[in-house]
Amino acid sequence: MHLSSRPAVSDAPAPDQDALPAPALTADARPLSRAAKGEVGRVIRVGLDGAPHDSLDPDELERRLLEIGFVEGARVEILHEGLFGRDPIAVKVDDMRVALRRREAEAILITAWQQPDASGATPRAVAEDRRS
C-alpha cells in the first residue's frame, strides 16, 4: 500500500463519504455536546458542515477532532462531567479517553448506539459495512 496513491481517495469524491451525512438526519441524531453522563452513541458526522464556530476555524476544529479519534463510526460514551455547567466532559472514544468542552463537542453529531453483532467486529467496522 503506497501512501502516494492515498490522496486519490479524497480527491475523487468518494461515494461513501458523500452518503455519510445523509443518515445523520435521522430523528435521534444530535450533537455530542447535548449528551448526558452515561450515554452511549455512535459518531455519524464530525465537523460543522460549514457552519461557523466561536473559537476555531470550523475546518481546523474538524481536523483536530478527527486527529484525536472522533471519526465517523466511532463509539462514544460520556464517562464524566465537570462540576460547573456539567462541562467539560470526559468521553470514551472507542478504546481511549478524551476530555473536551461541550462547545467543541457541538461539532460531533451522534446517534444512539446499537450493539454490534456478536461476531466481534469493531464498531467502526460495522459502520463501514453499513456505509458500503
Partner: protein, 634 residues
C-alpha cells in the same frame, strides 16, 4: 553486516516522534541515560532535548526528543518544531537520518495514523512499540510481522522502563545505519498538510491494519476506569485535587525551608570566612556582596524547584495532570486561563521562579504566556518578611469580631489582592488583548501508569540543571549589577550617613523622590527599593541600612524590632499602607525577570511584565495613599 562501518563517519542522528503520553520521554531517558542536554530551539520557546548513546556496534548516535503530536499538521509552536525538524527544514537543525516513531503499544489507533503521515516524508522510519510488556499483560496480541508488512515500516517492541528493554531497537539502529551509509539520500517527500478527508482516509487505513495485526485486549484496563470514577467525580475529584494541591503547596513551602536555611547559612558562613581572610576593599565586597550573595540567591531556590518538580513529574507520569486540568478547566477558564495553569500559579505562592518554570505543562503559547505574566502577582514567600515588618509596625494587634486578628486579616487581604489582580490581568490578556483565539480544551486522558523512579530522578535532575545553567547566569549578572549600583561610589571619609546614600542607588533614590512623592514614599524607601530589586526580602535589610539600624547590613531579631520602632515613628500609616500596596504588584524581583527572559526566550516579555507591574504598583499605591490620607491617616 559490516561491523566497523567505515562509510558512516558522522554520528547518525535520530529523532523521536510520537503522540503525547506514549512514553517517548521514558524511551529517550532509557536510551541516553544522563547524556542529555536541555535547551531551547533557536528563536522559539520550545524546549529542545538532545542526547546521545552508543549502539552495540560502537556507533555514537545523536537523538532528539521531539514534542509529542497527533499529526504533522502543526497547531502549536511545539508541533511546528516537530514538523519542521521531521521535514528537515528547521533552520539550524541537521536533518534527522532516521525517524523513530514511538507508540504506546496499548493504544495504537492514533499513532498508526501518524506513522502513515510520517511515511510520506520519505525518510527512513522505524516504529518502536513501547510499553510492550503492559500490552502483552493485558492480552493485546500484536502480530509484529504483519504490522510491519502492512505499514511498510520496520517495527520493534521496546520496554523503556526495563533494563535491556531497548536492545532490539539498538540492534535495529545499527542495521539501519549500515543501510543508510550505503544508500543514497532519503526518498522524495510527498507530505502535505492533510485535509479532513485525508485524515479520515488514514484513519480507515489505520483501522484496517489494526484489524489485521492487533487482537484487542482480553483483560481491559479496569484500573483506569475505577480510579477515574473517583478522581473525575465532580465533587470527590475536586476535593482530592485540592488535597493534592494543598499537600504540594505545603511541601514546597515548608519542606524546602530547612534546606533553604542551610544553603543560606552556608553562603553566609562562606562570606563571613572571606570577610575575615581578606583585607577590606572593593574586591572583597565584590566577592562577598556580589558573587557569593548572588550565587547564594540562585541556589537557595533549588530545594523548592526540586520538590515542586518531583510532584509535577510524579503527577505527570501517573497520568493525573490531564485529569487535574479537566477538573480545573471551568474555574480557570472564567479568567481566560487554561485548566493546566493552576499548578504553576499555585507554586507561585511559594516562589514565582519554580512557578514560571512549571508553565511548561501548558502547550499553547498564549495560554502559557498569560500564566507566566500573572504568576508574580501570587504572593510569594519573599514578600512575607516585608509584609510582616510593616504590618507589625503599623497595624494594631487586636481582634476583629472577636475571633479574627486584624493583622491576620490585613495579611489575608494582601493575598486576596494578589489572586484577584492575577485573575483580572489574565482576563484582560486572554479576553481583551488576545480575543477570539480561545484555545479548545481537547486532550487525551491517558491510562494511569505507575511512575518509574529512574524517570523521576532523571526528570528532576534535568530541571535542576537547566535552572542553574540558564536562570543562574542571568540572575547572577543582575545581582552583580545591583551590587555595583549600591556600592559605588563609596562613602567619603568621615561620612556620617550610611554608605548607600552616596552610591548610585542612593543618588537614583533621591533623584526618583519627586516621582514617588505622590504615592507617599520618602527617599529612604526609594533607596531601599533599589537593592530590593535583587529580591523582595532584601528591602527589609536595606531599610535597616538606610535608617542606620543595627550597623552595616545587620540582620537578626533585635534589629528587626528596632527597625519596626523607627518605622512606626517616621512613617505615616498612609505611607505604610501605600508600601504594602506597592509590594502586592511591584516587579521587585530580578530573578523572576531573569527566569521570564529565559523561559520566553525574549527580552520583550520581561519588559512588558516589568512595565505593567510597575504601573499597577504605582496606581495601587497612589490610590491607597490618597484614600488613607483622606481618612486622616497621613
Amino acid at each position: 553486516m559490516n561491523a566497523i562501518a567505515p562509510v558512516l563517519q558522522t554520528a547518525p542522528r535520530i529523532a523521536l516522534v510520537g503522540n503525547p503520553n506514549c512514553g517517548k520521554t521514558a524511551l529517550f531517558n532509557a536510551l541516553t541515560g544522563s547524556r542529555q542536554k536541555v535547551a531551547n530551539y533557536a528563536g522559539v520557546t520550545v524546549e529542545r532535548k538532545e542526547g546521545s548513546f552508543t549502539t552495540p556496534e560502537g556507533r555514537r548516535v545523536q537523538v532528539l526528543d521531539l514534542p509529542g503530536t497527533y499529526s504533522l499538521r502543526a497547531r502549536s509552536p511545539d508541533e511546528e518544531v516537530t514538523r519542521d525538524v521531521v521535514l528537515g527544514r528547521f533552520k539550524g537543525e541537521a536533518e534527522p537520518d532516521l525517524l523513530v516513531c514511538v507508540a504506546d503499544a496499548t493504544n495504537l489507533r492514533l499513532v498508526l495514523r501518524l506513522v502513515l503521515e510520517l511515511k510520506q516524508v520519505g525518510r527512513p522510519l522505524l516504529l518502536a512499540l513501547n510499553m510492550f510488556d503492559i500490552a502483552r499483560h493485558r492480552g493485546i496480541e500484536i502480530d509484529i510481522g504483519r504490522l510491519s508488512a502492512e505499514l511498510g515500516v520496520p517495527v520493534v517492541p521496546t520496554v523503556a522502563v526495563r533494563k535491556a528493554g531497548t536492545a532490539d531497537l539498538l540492534k535495529h539502529i545499527d542495521t539501519v545505519a549500515v543501510e543508510l551509509a550505503g544508500a543514497a539520500s532519503a526518498g522524495a517527500n510527498t507530505w502535505h498538510e492533510p485535509s479532513a478527508e485525508e485524515v479520515r482516509a488514514t484513519h480507515r487505513e489505520a483501522d484496517r491494519i489494526i484489524k489485521l495485526a492487533v487482537r484487542p485486549p482480553t483483560k481491559p484496563d479496569t484500573w483506569t476506569t475505577r480510579l477515574d470514577a473517583v478522581l473525575l467525580n465532580p465533587v470527590a475529584g475536586l476535593l482530592i485535587l485540592l488535597t493534592v494541591l494543598f499537600f504540594m503547596f505545603q511541601a514546597v513551602f515548608t519542606w524546602a525551608q530547612p534546606a533553604m536555611d542551610g544553603i543560606k547559612a552556608g553562603f553566609d558562613a562562606l562570606a563571613a570566612w572571606i570577610n575575615g581572610a581578606m583585607p577590606d576593599g572593593i574586591l572583597r565586597s565584590l566577592i562577598t556582596d556580589g558573587v557569593i550573595a548572588g550565587v547564594g540567591s540562585i541556589i537557595v531556590f533549588l530545594p523548592q524547584i526540586v520538590i515542586l518538580f518531583t510532584f509535577i513529574i510524579l503527577l505527570e507520569d501517573f497520568g493525573y495532570m490531564p485529569r487535574a486540568a479537566f477538573l480545573m478547566d471551568k474555574i480557570m477558564g472564567g479568567a481566560g486561563l487554561h485548566g493546566r495553569a493552576f499548578i504553576p500559579l499555585l507554586s507561585s505562592f511559594a516562589c514565582a521562579i519554580p512557578g514560571i518554570m512549571a508553565t511548561r505543562v501548558i502547550d499553547n503559547r498564549r495560554d502559557r504566556l498569560a500564566t507566566i505574566m500573572v504568576a508574580p502577582l501570587m504572593t510569594c514567600s519573599a514578600r512575607i518578611p516585608v509584609y510582616t515588618l510593616i504590618i507589625s509596625a503599623f497595624v494594631p494587634d487586636r481582634t476583629v469580631g472577636g475571633v479574627f486578628s486584624l493583622q491576620g486579616l490585613v495579611m489575608f487581604g494582601l493575598y486576596a489582592a494578589g489572586i484577584l489582580s492575577a485573575l483580572l490581568v489574565a482576563f484582560v490578556m486572554r479576553r481583551l488583548v488576545w480575543r477570539g483565539t480561545v484555545e479548545p480544551f481537547l486532550m487525551e486522558l491517558p491510562a494511569y501508569k505507575v511512575p518509574d523512579v529512574k524517570n523521576l530522578v532523571m526528570g528532576v535532575w534535568t530541571r535542576a540543571k537547566a535552572f542553574l545553567q540558564r536562570a543562574g547566569t542571568t540572575i547572577l549578572s543582575i545581582m552583580i549589577l545591583i551590587w555595583f549600583l549600591s556600592s559605588f561610589p563609596g562613602a567619603p571619609a568621615g561620612a556620617t550617613d550610611p554608605a548607600i546614600d552616596y552610591s548610585i542607588a542612593g543618588m537614583v533614590g533621591h533623584w526618583l523622590q519627586p516621582l514617588v512623592a505622590p504615592i507617599g514614599f520618602n527617599w529612604q524607601i526609594t533607596v531601599a527599593l533599589i537593592p530590593g530589586m535583587a529580591a523582595r526580602e532584601v528591602a527589609v535589610a536595606a531599610l535597616g541600612t538606610v535608617y542606620a539600624v543595627g550597623g552595616a547590613g545587620g540582620g537578626g531579631e533585635e534589629n528587626v524590632t528596632a527597625l519596626m520602632d523607627t518605622l512606626g515613628h517616621s512613617w505615616s500609616l498612609a505611607t505604610a499602607l501605600s508600601l504594602l500596596a506597592w509590594y502586592v504588584f511591584a516587579p521587585q524581583c530580578a530573578s523572576t525577570l531573569g527566569v521570564v527572559r529565559r523561559e520566553t526566550n525574549s527580552l520583550k516579555w520581561p519588559l512588558i511584565m516589568f512595565g505593567y507591574m510597575l504601573t499597577l504598583a504605582y496606581l495601587a499605591s497612589f490610590a491607597t495613599y490618597h484614600i488613607a490620607a483622606s481618612l486622616g491617616w497621613a
